[in-house]
């Protein structure tokens, strides 16, 4: 008869460092190589990428002035100005417009409406 002392049960090693992320469950195989899109740097990078590209094209225009159909097109940086400020106008107008036009989801479904 062997007098073996039972080994104290050691809790299983936590796999926090090596385990696959929780989101891996149910992820399509084709999407796995692109999970880096969720990382912080990938979310910050577009700001700098688009800024650099926009500035690069502005520099290009400086050396190769455009000849367009309209005299407006010949203003230096016309498309970048309209692209940036036009986009900002459309988005920033959303704040006052939402205050003015927003209603709850059941607005038209209340009694007396919409039928």
């Amino acid at each position: 008869m062997t007098n073996e002392t039972p080994k104290p049960k050691t809790p299983p090693k936590k796999k926090t460092e090596t385990a696959k992320p929780e989101t891996d469950h149910g992820i399509h195989p084709l999407a796995r190589p692109f999970l880096w899109l969720d990382s912080k740097w990938a979310r910050r990078a577009p700001f700098w990428i688009f800024l650099s590209a926009a500035l690069g094209l502005l520099a290009w225009e400086f050396f190769h002035p455009r000849h367009g159909y309209s005299k407006w097109e010949e203003i230096f940086g016309f498309y970048e100005i309209e692209g940036f400020f036009g986009f900002c106008l459309a988005v920033l107008a959303g704040w006052p417009l939402r205050k003015l036009l927003w209603r709850s989801e059941d607005y038209y479904d209340r009694e007396g409406s919409d039928d």
Partner: protein, 570 residues
Amino acid sequence: MIDLLSGLSPAWPVLIAGVLCAVMPWHYARKALMILAPLAAGLFWFLTPQTGVFGVFEAAGFTFETYRFDPLSRIWGLVFILAAFLNGLYALHERDRMSDTAALLYTGAGIGAVFAGDFLTLFFFWELTAITSVFLVWAGRNPSAFRAGHRYLAIHVLSGVLLLGGAILYANHSGSWQFNAVDVNAPGGLLILLAFGIKAAFPLLHNWLQDAYPKSTAVGAVVLSAFTTKLAIYALARGFAGLEPLIWVGAIMTAFPVFYAVIENDLRKVLAYSLNNQLGFMVAGIGVGTALGLNGAAAHAFVHIIYKGLLFMTMGAVLMRTGSTKATDLGGLYKSMPLTALFCLIGAGAISAFPLMSGFVAKALTISAVAQSGQTIPFLILVFASAGVLEHSGIKIPYFAFFAHDAKKRVKEAPANMLLAMGLAAFLCIYLGVNYGALYDLLPFSMEAYQPYSLDHIVGQMQLLLAALFAFTFLVRFKLYPAEVPGVNLDTDWFYRKAGNNFVRWSWKMFDRMMGALGHVRGRIRARLGDRLFNVFSPAGAFSRDIPSGLLAIWTSVLLGIVLLIAYLA
């Protein structure tokens, strides 16, 4: 056999397939029809040897031209057939006889209207598109879709009635029922323009589109997005090319949906606003009316049907898998639907007019045409709206559905048939952008002199897009981009859904009360007057004490007196 087919409108095989679908209980047979009918229509289109008017018949003293095949109708007919095929493929999984039937009949009606050579044939198919397409809205099968369908039907039938009324006046004036260029100042001309404007979703007449399309099913919205509005654009191009105010109408159409799309939470509604915006480019091109402008409208309609259909398809797949297309419910779906996300990005790239995408080679024509026409402010609005397109369709749709914050929805990828339809549409978005000659060859006017890939054009467009993309990252980084919020935004439909509805209810209640009060007063008057008359004229009344006469005798005397008076005066 080929000679026999060559004069038949491609609408017929699709319409016949639609009728067969209505009586066919077998799912697979219906699906086969949905694929085969557009193929047959395509065969009819290809077998038509030359331009001309075919399928002419006379009835009730009118001449009906069912198949006018000319450079303008040719391109619209082809893209309608192409869209029908893609839609059939996309709908393969859906078991809904009503939807299958409506989709085919609606498509057939759209093709028929495009090839109509006279106003009466146009009116017939115009109304048929309305009556059949409403079933696609009702296919949503919920009270909201049901009510939206009613509103949609009322507005579209009104458009048809205006068209018929305008056509009658116009034909009386011009002596012909032929549907060609319409003089807007002639009797009926304005009514016809209004009829087309309703269907083309002109500003203030537009909201049926955002009301109805997002309430349809995944498949229904895809089918709806292809035909109605583009049929109206065709009709405008045929009837009102060169009508200058259309440049302004188009410019406004491109701009105002941009603001609505920013604050809209339902991504299919965002696409509906985006559709409005795209129609604006086409209307502006038609307003310019030059060969370049009309080519721009035609090219834009062609590529738009494909990439807008693709975007609706991707949102349909999202709706099918997640049960919602609201930005607040979505995010991170690229992890479970990567192919759908890829196709959505291609559609977004095409609609934003990135080089090597179909939107680039089409939109360039319209904007160049407006710039050449010397219309400075509309030109500036169109360029602004191009940045707006990038905001709502290029960024918002793919970003909030497939990226942004992860909503942890782990769903299955779209079914194979949906992926195949989306894949084909995505392929066309790139193919037409690269091999743009294939598109330009279909246009109504020769495009030999036009070169879309000039260095100035590429650099200018990339500057616009990159500056706008930078603006997006800038606004997000500094938390200036409005967060998505569930809710509805008031638009012109408020006037009939809320104000008009409340007014009618209030009027009805007031009328009801008034009738009640009047009834009460009338009763009292009758009782009092009756008593007095009785006291005076009854056999026991005051009159009868000396002269025995009843009430009837008095009235007879009064009537005779009136007759005598009239006879005397006459």
